[in-house]
């Protein structure tokens, strides 16, 4: 059993000079290709017992009152490259509040802190690979890169599949946001097709009446060929 190799030119290259921090933080050697061994084919498992009832509700999991801002549901499915669901995938998310402000000691943006918004959430996929968060639609925010760079509204996602070889961190954007196409971090991704895959779609059918709009964001992790026991020593 092995995971499909990552195609070159799909993920962002390590060095993307318009994203200035990548200049001093990008390895100059190409990565060394290694075989997949049990170290890469296994990964930590996180049981359902890990989670508190509000872990996936960023509107309510930090403060005594509900957080301020547009109430949304972010939901979707985690699948592999063959379209098979990935059950028990751990998803951790973090984001700015409705003003575009993160709750972090090193954050200096003048956007207001929301006393009821922490900005983190986590959940685990069900047997069909489905997940759901409730949160606030984050605001756009300026960041020190070029003289006037702004990030499009986004939610950061960290994902564990079943193997460490599938480990992934990415960001989710919102359908229709023109800022996506001017962002030096988004533009680190070589193809428009790959960017489109990170844009959540507004799903009017999934709207919670008188409560929250819904955005669908499906995530694809590396797929694998063969069965568990193939190629075992």
């Amino acid at each position: 059993m092995s995971y499909y190799a990552r195609a070159s030119g799909w993920h962002p290259p390590a060095l993307h000079p318009p994203y200035k921090t990548s200049v001093k933080r990008s390895p100059s050697f190409a990565p060394v290709t290694m075989p997949q061994t049990p170290s890469e084919l296994t990964g930590p498992a996180f049981g359902h017992g890990l989670f508190g009832p509000l872990d996936n509700d960023l509107i309510r999991n930090f403060g005594a009152e509900a957080a301020i801002g547009p109430r949304i549901v972010v939901f979707g499915r985690v699948q592999d490259e063959d379209g098979r669901p990935v059950p028990e995938a751990l998803l951790e998310i973090w984001q700015a509040n409705a003003s575009g402000r993160y709750r972090h000691a090193k954050e200096g943006y003048i956007g207001a802190i929301d006393p009821n918004f922490g900005g983190c959430g986590r959940t685990i996929t069900d047997a069909e690979g489905r997940y759901e968060f409730r949160t606030i639609q984050p605001g756009a925010y300026p960041w020190p890169n070029g003289p006037n760079d702004w990030r499009p509204a986004h939610i950061h996602f960290s994902i564990f599949g079943r193997a460490f070889a599938q480990r992934l961190i990415t960001q989710m954007y919102f359908e229709g946001d023109p800022m996506i196409w001017r962002c030096p971090i988004v533009s680190s991704i070589p193809s428009r097709e790959a960017v489109e895959g990170l844009i959540a779609r507004w799903d009017p059918e999934a709207t919670l009446p008188m409560d929250a709009r819904a955005f669908r964001f499906d995530i694809t992790l590396r797929g694998r060929r063969g069965t568990m026991f193939e190629g075992r020593p």
Binding site: P38, L50, G119, C120, L198, L221
Partner: protein, 198 residues
């Protein structure tokens, strides 16, 4: 293959909010940060510490990195449903996660010395710890391995494939006393750490 993998994006400078919220002052949401304790009971094996920094091309330690490790238990088994060779030590998770110190960028893992794990064709690999590093400015998480300085690495089936033999030293920790290791990860420069794709 019918779908493409979701493209990676940088974890950014605020990865702590999502991954180590208690570390960055967001208390009360999760009981403890994921990966903060690898030894959860009377785990078998020698207790060790692994400390280090991630260093950029200017020689500065990153103060916003998140480092994860994944390793076998003392018997060489992974605590994973995907582990086909047997049941791992119930008191050892194998998974650790740390944010670098805000001032120095240093991180420390308290773990156990891993046992050997088979590799391609059943050839045993030298004991190692898998590392995964993300931070602002890193567009795709960096995958590397740490090996132990007292081990014979000459027959390791992964290291034996590396053409630049002189670079293998970048994957070997330095001993700093009994059971204490330092593993600094260099993103660029003459001692740039080997990073893998698999």
């Amino acid at each position: 293959m019918r779908f493409r993998e979701s493209a990676s994006q940088t974890a950014g400078p605020y990865v702590h909010i999502g991954c180590t919220p208690n570390f960055c002052g967001i208390g009360g949401v999760y009981t403890e940060d994921l990966g903060s304790r690898m030894i959860t009971g009377d785990a078998k094996g020698e207790r060790i510490t692994i400390r280090g920094t991630v260093i950029d091309g200017a020689g500065m330690a990153l103060r916003d990195a998140m480092v994860e490790i994944w390793q076998a238990d003392a018997a060489g088994l992974y605590a994973s449903p995907e582990e086909a060779r047997g049941a791992a030590d119930p008191h050892f998770t194998g998974f650790g996660r740390r944010a670098g110190d805000y001032e120095t960028g240093e991180w420390v893992f308290e773990t156990i010395r891993p046992g050997p794990v088979p590799g391609p064709g059943g050839r045993m690999q030298a004991p190692h710890v898998t590392f995964w590093i993300v931070a602002r400015g890193i567009n795709l998480g960096l995958h590397t391995r740490m090996y132990f300085p007292e081990d014979d690495l000459s027959a390791d089936p992964v290291l034996s494939r590396i053409e630049h033999r002189s670079r293998i030293a970048t994957l070997v920790a330095k001993a700093e006393g009994q059971g204490a290791y330092r593993f600094d990860i260099r993103l660029q420069g003459p001692e740039e750490t080997i990073f893998f794709e698999c």
